[in-house]
Each structure stands twice: as C-alpha cells, then as structure tokens.
C-alpha cells in the first residue's frame, strides 16, 4: 500500500483573470521507505504539493490519500489527528519554539499526539541522542547553531515514529557542511526507521542524495526519475 498519493490533485488560488494554478491535475504516489525529492524552480508548485501531502492544505479538486486512507471531506480535527500520528515535518527555518528547550521542543510533538507525559521526556531524550544532541537537551534554540537546530527539528519529526516525513527545503538555511551532515543523518534515519522521506528542494546537492526525483514545472509533473544512490 502506498504511503501517500496525490491523484489528479489541483490547487488553484483566486478566480477569473487572477486565477493561479499552483498545482494542476498532479498525480504522484510514494511508497513506504522512499527517500524522494520534489524538485523544481521557485513557484513550480513543489511546496503546494508538499502542503497537500502534509494535509496542511486541501486540494481544489482531486484526491489525497495517506497510508491508503482518503482524506476527502475530513474535518479539520480529523486532518490534524492524521498529521499528528502519521506525518512528521521538517521546515526550512527549523520552526522551533524559542521558549522551549531542545528536549521540550521534541516533547511537544509527543504531547500533541496525545502521549502520556511520563513517557515523553525519555522518548524525546532518546530521539535527540539519536541525532547527536544528547548533551544539548536543555539548550534553547537561540543557544544552538543552525545545523543543531535542524537536528532538533529532525528529532521532533521522527520521535513519533511517523510513516511519512515531509521536509521543505531542509538545507536551504544551512551551510554546505551542515547541510551535508543533515542529509546524511536523514538518509541514515530513513534506513533505520523505514519512514518515507519526502523533500522539496532545488538544491542539486540534495537531489544527488535522493533515490527518486520528481520534477515539477508550472504545477505539472515534468519527470519522475529513480536514481541509483
């Protein structure tokens, strides 16, 4: 069973002469354990596609399926529940909560998915240790480097053991060394957790590391290539 499917999905903004087709009749399917990239120039529609797959947005037409379940007509609460249980997010700007420590940021994801608070601290610490931040648990985001912050974000995304991890240009705000380290880590976690990793990027370095590259242009599928990485 596919982990996520966009079936003839379109996302349009505005109407009449101001109509913008951010995604137009787009179909793509991702299988469990994939390490794939959605690539394309700015404005090509890759972020829109990720928003639909991550259930952060709903399509104007077409269908989104997560883990075999259609999301059509689901309430905001039901979509939130699926996001909380099955999808992890990594953002370009890390999006850590500044008033929480590294471990609390990771705990927050567990807390929001309804886990018992007694278990969350241990799981969060474990997850941060796994990304190499076991000795920086109590640091606040402003006390961490960009690469370390993105590692916290990765730990936060993976701590719930989601089936799908969505990363929106995860290396865009990092230098090449930190970017490579983050990519290595994600690749390693992909192999260990068997979670599907789905990136959006136009960074060639990231595309080289992906096993599959889905190219988008003007909201349409341009190419779908598998690489022997």
């Amino acid at each position: 069973m596919s982990i996520c499917e966009l079936l003839s999905a379109s996302r349009h903004y505005g109407s009449g002469p101001t109509l913008v087709k951010a995604l137009d009749n787009f179909t793509v399917t991702f299988e469990p354990g994939e390490f794939a990239v959605l690539s394309g120039p700015s404005g090509s529609g890759k972020t829109t596609a990720l928003n639909l797959i991550g259930l952060l947005d709903t399509p104007t037409s077409g269908l989104v399926k997560i883990d075999g379940q259609s999301t059509e007509g689901l309430s905001s609460k039901a979509l939130t529940e699926i996001r909380g249980q099955k999808i992890g997010f990594i953002f370009q700007s890390f999006n850590l909560v500044p008033v929480l420590s590294a471990v609390e940021n990771v705990e927050l994801a567990l807390h929001l998915s309804g886990l018992n608070p007694k278990q969350t601290r241990e799981m969060a610490s474990e997850s941060l240790t796994q990304v190499g931040l076991g000795d920086l648990l109590d640091r606040r985001p402003n006390q961490l480097s960009g690469g370390q912050q993105q590692r916290v974000a990765i730990a936060r995304a993976l701590v719930k053991k989601p089936k799908l991890v969505i990363a929106d240009e995860p290396t865009a705000n990092l230098d090449s060394k930190s970017g490579n380290q983050v990519l290595d880590l994600m690749r390693q976690l992909n192999e260990e957790h068997k979670a599907t990793f789905l990136f959006s990027t136009h960074d060639p370095m990231v595309m080289e590391r992906a096993r599959r590259v889905v190219k988008i242009l003007d909201g349409r599928l341009l190419a779908d290539e598998t690489q022997g990485v």
Binding site: D57, K77, F89, F91, N95, E104, L108, H111
Partner: protein
C-alpha cells in the same frame, strides 16, 4: 502540562507589554476590593455608631422623629413593674433616658443642643465609656451637680470645665424652665452626633428641669444577638403596647444603608469599568502575540495541535495575566483593607475639619474598612474570567490561521 509551561514562558516573552496590560487588572481588582471594603466598612460604621448611640434596641413614643435634634417630650411614657421585669429578662442591659432639645447659653452666645437625661447606675452598661476622651469629670448625681458637654458644643461656645452655662428648656408640660449649671467635663465619645450637639445631665438634675420624674422618652437596650433585634422588637411591642414604638439598630439605619448600597454599586461599577478596559488591553496584547507568533502557531498545528488547542494555549496565557494581575490587585487591596481594618481611618482627617462634620446621622469618627478574604478570592476569580474571555477572540483568530501559510510566515 507542557502547554501550561509554554503559556507561562510566553508570558515573559513580552514582559513589559504584558505587565502594562496587567496594570488595569490590578487597578480594577484593587478598586473593587478597597471600594467594597470601604462601603461595607461605612455600613458597619453606621451600625456601630447607631448601636453606640442607641444600643441594639430603643423604645420611643409613637411617631418619634428618627433623625435631627427635634426631641418632643410631650408624649413620655412610664414603665410598669411588669415592663421592667420583661426588660430585665429579655435584655443583657437596659437603661431609661429622657432626651430633650434645650438651648444652652453662655454669655451672649447660645446654641440648641440635644440634652440626654441619664440614669448614672445603668447608663454606662448600655453605653460603654472606655473610648471616651474626657476633660474634667462626670456630673454629680445631685441637683446643681453640673453638666457634661460634647466636644463640638464646647468648641462652638468655647466652653471648658468649671465654666457656667444656662440650660433653657420647655418642660414636659410645655412651660419654660431654665437652670444655671457648671460644666464638669467636656467629652469626645467618638460618636459625631453626640459630640457635636450633645450634653448630658443625670436624671436627678434633668427630671426637675423637665418635670418628667418617673417618665422617659427612651429605653435603650442591648441584647445577646444583635441580629435577633427585629424579632425582639415584635415581642417588645406585644409587651409594651401601642403607647410606644420599638426601633432596632437595623430599622434606624435603613436609609443610610440604602445610601451604602449605592456606594457599593458605584465602586463595583468603577471596578468593572476598569476591568473592561483591562479586557480590551489583554485582547490587544494577545492579538499582538498571535501576529508575532504566526509561524509557531502554524508549526504547532502541523505537529498536531487542534484549533481548540490553539485557543486553550492563548486563553491560558490570558488566564495567567488575569491570575497574576488579579493576585497583585487582591494583595494590594487586601493589604489596604487589612491595614485600615486594624488601624482605622480617621474620617475627620479625610474631611479636613471636625467642626464641619456636624451630623444628624449616626456616623463614627473612625472608619474601619471591611477586610474580607472571600472578596479577595472573588477579585482574583473575576480577573481570571475577564482575562480569559478577553483572550478568546484573538485566540479564535489564531486558531483559524491556515497552517500551510502560517508555517512559512516571516517572523
């Protein structure tokens, strides 16, 4: 728990702005607590002054004036032995008085006063004198023994012990009578009504002057439970018949207490007005916080926070502001009311000059504010409720942000 921690830490993110928002809450709660403390204290002041001036219960002739110094003595009554026995059995203390409204004259100056003819044996039990400040002494209980004057009267006529005044009065039968008496003492009883217009004569002096021997205009009594005064009045009216009218400390202060209720309403209105201002301030503060934290809200929504969760988070922040502001306001209000509950507030100092406070109403010179712990708790609870309600609108706006846009918002 983590959300509570998050809300608490968020409170410190814009500490100055949040503190400013809390000032109105602090002031609102302070005004409500101090205002109610003062209004309740004034009520109690009136009760205390009334009891100080007349006891828990007072028996007067029918249609006797409630206020002022018009004291008719043409309808005096006589207590039978049965009446006296009943009073002995049904009061802790009681005493008879005759009250008249003579003129006292010193040289070319004169003023109308309230003359109290008292029984030296039983009067002090009903009207305790431990707080009296007296220069000179009480009059002897013999004809020509002298007169005790209130401090306001003494100030008005420039009287001091040893000086002689003339008391000019109409007797119970309506004839003119007068007597020359030495002032034996000047007293400050703390009850403005008496101090400003009162003079006291023992019955042995007053009765020959008023031709009222064996008759009284007032019977004052104290009973075990002051709250039982209304039922005591009903029983007394049955015992004493329609030649008298029975008043209680409650019925005698009804008009003033109605004024007190208006005062309480006014203070509450001021407090509520301040809390509404506080609510607007908090709503604005929380609204600004939501604009500043759009990306955070989007991230939490992406991580699985429901719309209800977003509302709860911001409402908790509002609740914290209400709790902290309310607690500070309650602490300040509590400290103020407690201090003046223990030490009293000199109302003379408030109005500037004692002589200007000539009052026909029973008002004590010292106001003790009502210190009420339940009011402090109510103040804090009201502050929290107001703050939470004020937070709901911006919190609701935040909960409706589109997560897809919010996660990528510029910070």
């Amino acid at each position: 728990m983590l959300i509570l921690k998050l809300a608490t830490r968020n409170l410190f993110r814009q500490l100055g702005r949040n503190a400013l928002s809390m000032v109105s809450i602090i002031m609102g709660v302070l005004v409500i607590i101090a205002g109610r403390g003062m209004a309740n204290g004034l009520d109690e002041n009136v009760y205390r002054a009334q009891i100080h001036d007349a006891g828990h219960v007072v028996v007067v002739p029918p249609d006797y004036p409630k206020f002022g110094i018009d004291h008719p003595i043409d309808t005096l009554y006589t207590l039978s032995d049965a009446d006296r026995s009943w009073l002995d059995a049904n009061t802790t203390e009681w005493t008879e008085r005759i009250v008249a409204a003579p003129r006292i004259i010193k040289g070319l100056d004169s003023t109308r006063v309230r003359l109290v003819g008292y029984d030296p044996e039983s009067d002090a039990a009903v009207f305790p004198r431990e707080n009296w400040e007296m220069t000179g002494s009480l009059p002897e209980n013999t004809p020509g023994g002298g007169v005790l004057v209130g401090s306001g009267v003494a100030r008005l006529l420039n009287l001091s012990p040893g000086e002689v005044i003339v008391v000019e009065v109409r007797t119970a039968d309506g004839a003119l009578n007068a007597i020359q008496l030495p002032v034996t003492g000047v007293v400050d009883t703390g009850a403005m009504f008496f101090d400003n217009v009162g003079v006291m004569l023992p019955r042995n002096e007053a009765d020959p002057l008023l031709l009222s021997t064996g008759r009284s205009s007032h019977v004052h009594g104290r009973i075990k439970d002051r709250d039982a005064a209304p039922s005591w009045a009903t029983q007394a009216e049955t015992q004493l018949g329609d030649r008298v009218q029975v008043r209680t400390w409650l019925s005698s202060t009804e008009a003033l207490i109605e004024v007190g209720e208006m005062r309480r309403t006014m203070f509450s209105f001021m407090g509520v007005a301040l809390l509404i201002m506080a609510a607007a301030g908090i709503a604005n503060t929380v609204l600004m916080a939501t604009f500043e934290r759009v990306r955070e809200i989007g991230t939490m929504r992406a991580l699985g926070m429901t719309r209800g969760g977003v509302i709860t988070m911001f409402a908790t922040e509002g609740a914290w502001m209400g709790l902290v502001g309310g607690a500070i306001g309650a602490a300040m209000g509590g400290a103020l009311t407690w201090y003046y509950n223990v030490n009293g507030l000199d109302m003379m100092a408030l109005v500037g000059a004692k002589a200007d406070l000539t009052s026909d109403y029973p008002v004590d010179a010292t106001l003790y504010l009502d210190f009420s712990p339940p009011t402090l708790i109510v103040g804090v609870v009201v502050a929290v409720i107001v703050a939470v309600l004020a937070s709901l609108y911006p919190a609701s706006l935040a909960s409706h942000m589109q997560p897809a846009d919010a996660v990528r918002a510029e910070q």
